[in-house]
């Protein structure tokens, strides 16, 4: 296992961020449908979550293919219509599952990193 641990942490963090981003997007959509650029703006307010803004579009496309979100065109008050993304029932389930697993995982890692495993 040593070679793996010797790897710079960058790659791991990138992978974790990428994996978590999908659920962050689902969480942002749980309140109300949003359009792509709006999601980018909200995610951009949280430091380090979205480094390359364009990568949200392949992600949204995949979430739609997997049936976690659905899309709908709506008129925009200014400019061309916008594609809105809304959470499906399946998306809600996926988000709820991730939420509980994430809490457990985060607590476990926090506990161990802070040396409080006693």
């Amino acid at each position: 296992m040593l070679p793996y641990l010797c790897m710079p942490a960058d790659g791991l963090v990138t992978q974790m961020r990428k994996g978590a981003l999908a659920y962050c997007v689902l969480a942002l959509l749980s309140g109300e449908p949003r359009y792509g650029f709006e999601l980018v703006q909200v995610l951009g307010q949280v430091d380090g979550m979205l480094t390359t803004e364009g990568t949200i579009y392949p992600l949204l496309s995949r979430l739609r293919r997997e049936g976690l979100v659905e899309t709908e065109w709506r008129e925009s008050p200014s400019g061309p219509p916008r594609r809105y993304y809304a959470l499906t029932a399946q998306g809600k389930d996926a988000l709820a599952t991730f939420r509980s697993e994430w809490m457990t995982f985060r607590q476990a890692v926090d506990t161990l990193l802070q040396g409080g495993a006693s």
Binding site: T51, E53, T55
Partner: protein, 214 residues
């Protein structure tokens, strides 16, 4: 107020994205390009006094088209298109397929630079390459198309007896066939070199994006 070079900058970016995503399924490709186009429109709408620099920053934040294409491939579980290195093998295949067909075809299949479809075209279209054409011309040149015997009496010709030769229709179809024999290897060679250039250009852009990590 739009940036002075807005359309050049944006169209250039979208053209690169279109080029980088050529291997993606058309639906996903269209969705990605639409999403990015919409993003640019929305982002510009919230920039009141737009400059060229604003636009360039906007596109920088969006990300390099090669990175977006790669992200889409990963999300689709697709493999990155294989990188092609141009070497003696490719040049040999390109030169020898029209000229010395069997050798060229072996090199063609040994190389990664062409897709299976291109390799089949290279193999099947030139029927033996220019070598065959040259042989065909040579044989045709040797065989007399028409032989005539002049019958003469007292030094003055009285009759001409001709034998052999081809009926006009067969002659024309033979000419067309020979032309195809000549043209097809050359056309295939041109096609293969175009495909090779396209592949190598994709490789260069992929390398360029690797040099600048996100």
């Amino acid at each position: 107020m739009t940036a002075p070079h807005a359309s050049q900058i944006i169209n250039g970016y979208l053209a690169r994205l279109s080029d980088e995503t050529k291997d993606l399924p058309s639906r996903e490709r269209g969705e990605l390009i639409d999403g990015v186009r919409e993003h640019i429109t929305e982002a510009r709408a919230v920039t009141p006094e737009e400059t060229d620099a604003d636009l360039l920053n906007l596109l920088d934040r969006l990300g390099d088209p090669a990175d977006l294409a790669e992200e889409e491939r990963q999300r689709l579980g697709m493999a990155t298109p294989r990188q092609v290195k141009l070497g003696v093998l490719e040049i040999g295949a390109l030169v020898l397929t029209p000229l010395v067909w069997p050798v060229g075809v072996i090199l063609l299949w040994a190389s990664d630079a062409w897709s299976i479809r291109d390799k089949l075209i290279g193999t099947l279209l030139p029927p033996g390459g220019l070598f065959t054409s040259a042989t065909a011309f040579f044989i045709l040149g040797l065989s007399p198309a028409q032989s005539c015997v002049v019958v003469s009496r007292n030094g003055s010709p009285v009759a001409t007896h001709c034998s052999g030769g081809l009926p006009p229709l067969a002659g024309i179809s033979l000419l067309v066939g020979l032309f195809l024999l000549l043209a097809l290897p050359i056309l295939t060679g041109i096609y293969m070199s175009i495909q090779l250039r396209r592949h190598s250009r994709r490789k260069q852009t992929a390398m360029g994006s690797m040099a600048a990590p996100a």
